[in-house]
Each structure stands twice: as C-alpha cells, then as structure tokens.
Amino acid sequence: MPVQVLEESYEKVTVVFEGFPRVYVNSIRRASMSLVPVMAIDDVVILENTSSFYDEVIAHRLGLIPLKTPLEKYLIPSECDCKSALGCPKCRVLFVLDAEATDKVRDVLSAELVSEDEEVKPVSPNIPIIKLAPGQKIKLEAYAKLGRGKSHSKWQATSAAVLRSYPLVALNESCNNCGMCVSACTKDVFSIRNGKLKVDNPLNCNLCFECLESCQAEPKGINVKEDEDKFILTIESSGGMAAREILVQAVKEVIKLVDDVIDKFSGEVLPVEKEK
C-alpha cells in the first residue's frame, strides 16, 4: 500500500508514504505549513480601550488565537470579488468583544469573543486575551479572514510538520543480549525480556546510531538502516482543522501549484532557439 496511516487523532496524523520520492513528500509537508489556508483575526477596530494594554498588543494577541475553520464556507480575500478593505460576508467573519471589570481584577477569555458565525470560533474558550483592573473597559470589533502561513505565522495551520526516514531496526545472530543498547537508546526501541533482547518500537528509532556505538558484540549485533523508499510524515494541527484535513488540503495546494504551471505553458509554448 503506497500510503498508510499509522496514528490518527484530531490534532495529529502520522502517515507512511511508500514509493514516493522524498522531495514530493517534503513538498506536502511544506505546503501544510505555508499554503493551507486557515482563519485568523486580521483587522481590529478598537472602539474603546481603557485597559493597561496598547491597542496593538491586543490586536496581536487576538490575531494569534487559533480559530475553527470551515474551509469550504469562505473565500480567501484576494480571490473574493468584493475587493473591499474589510471584506464581505463571503470572505470574513466579524467578532465582537465587549468586556469590563467592575469590582476586581479579571481575565478576559476567548469565550467572550462573540462570533458572527457559530462555526468560526476560538479553538479553546480558555485563552486569556487581556487582564483588566476594576474600572477598565475594552470594546472592539475584529474581522477574521482566511490567510496562508507564508504571509504570517498566525495563519499557519500546523504547529509541527515533520518528515523523517523510515527506520529498519533488526537484530542478527551475533547479538549477545548484553542489553547495552537498551539504555543507550533514548527512544525506547529495545527492551530485554527473559534475558533476550527484543525490538519493541522499531518506528520510534530516529537513526541516531547510539545503539551501534554501545553494542559490545563483534561484529555488531544490530542492523540499523533507513528504508530509502518509505517516509514518515507527521502533521500536528494548531487546532483550526483536523490534521487529516490539513494533509488533504496540502496535497490539493501542491496540485494547484503544478496546475498553474501547466496552464501557463499550455497553448503557446515557444520553442527554444538553438545556438548554432
């Protein structure tokens, strides 16, 4: 099977690609970080701010709050036909924040951000935006838009995207079960049971070769190498979308880029003039 899912949850997906060149899988990884669109607050209109924070600090903190993103529902502002600075209902979501501290110091949490659209809301209701002292007040409108990670990290859909080689760890006959590799390995690949060395988690191996350094047998009792044809891609979502959705979207973005190239060259490809 060319693509196999090792582990999957909403936040994280680990996939093995088999038979793809490394550069292809890496382009998917890079696209998942910089090309997958995700919602983030971009424009903030401060109506009233008597807090101890500068307007800019509040706007910056609002921007960094990850938002749940229904991708099919909204357009990227540059691809929307409205051409308006603050966007239209097709390409933006309005948030309103109105908070005041009356008798004691309190945190203003992301749960207090009122969204225009039920589906677009902060990933967690417990993100502290600012702290207010008694008598302080904050009132603002914020516009969330789709954007890409390459223009600002607040639009980055992933928090970690890692591509690594597929490790092949095996024991051979010369292994004398001394167990030195068990403590040398930081990834818990090996264990000793009933005096016998076992390979427990071969996929945890990060190919550091510490086990070979520690091996007492001669020749070495462990074979460690990378499978040149397989790669493990791990994508961790920052919360806006399911990790699987980010992976699929990243592939679509790569295809879109390639299609753009084909479009540019179809029809009128000029022949290269040969030098005589």
Binding site: D107, S110, S124, K131, A133
Partner: protein, 76 residues
C-alpha cells in the same frame, strides 16, 4: 501576559497556562504538570517555565488609581 502561541512552533499554549500556574503554586512538579497537560516539545515547555507575569505587577497600581478616582468623585 502569557503568550498565546509558542514562539517557535506556533502551538496553542495560553489555554493551559491557568491550570499550570494553579497546580505549580499548589506545589506540584512543573515537569509533571506539563506532561499531563500534553505540552511535549521543549520549545513549548520553556514558554511555561520561563514566563513572568509582569502585568500582575502593574495592575495593583491601576487598581489603586481607579479606587482613588472613585474616592475623589465621592468627595465632590
């Protein structure tokens, strides 16, 4: 205030900070609390252990200013 995302990887961390602080102030080991909160990478962990909430040092001043303001209004 505590940053909303990790400076290095961009993972959301701010929603876990209140619980982290509460539990560490109650005497729990901060490393263990971070493990249980699911903060795995060391880039995110340093955000927690190295944070100093300067706003908590400023707010008492703001608080007393607002109290004084109210007192003046009452005198008038």
């Amino acid at each position: 205030m505590f940053p909303i995302r990790c400076f290095t990887c961009g993972a959301l961390i701010a929603d876990k900070y209140r619980e982290y602080k509460k539990r560490v102030n109650m005497g729990e080991d901060s490393g263990k609390v971070l493990d249980e909160l699911g903060v795995k990478r060391y880039c995110c962990r340093r955000m927690f252990i190295s944070n100093v909430d300067i706003i908590d040092q400023i707010l008492p001043y703001e608080e007393s200013v607002s109290r004084k303001g109210k007192e003046y209004q009452m005198v008038r």
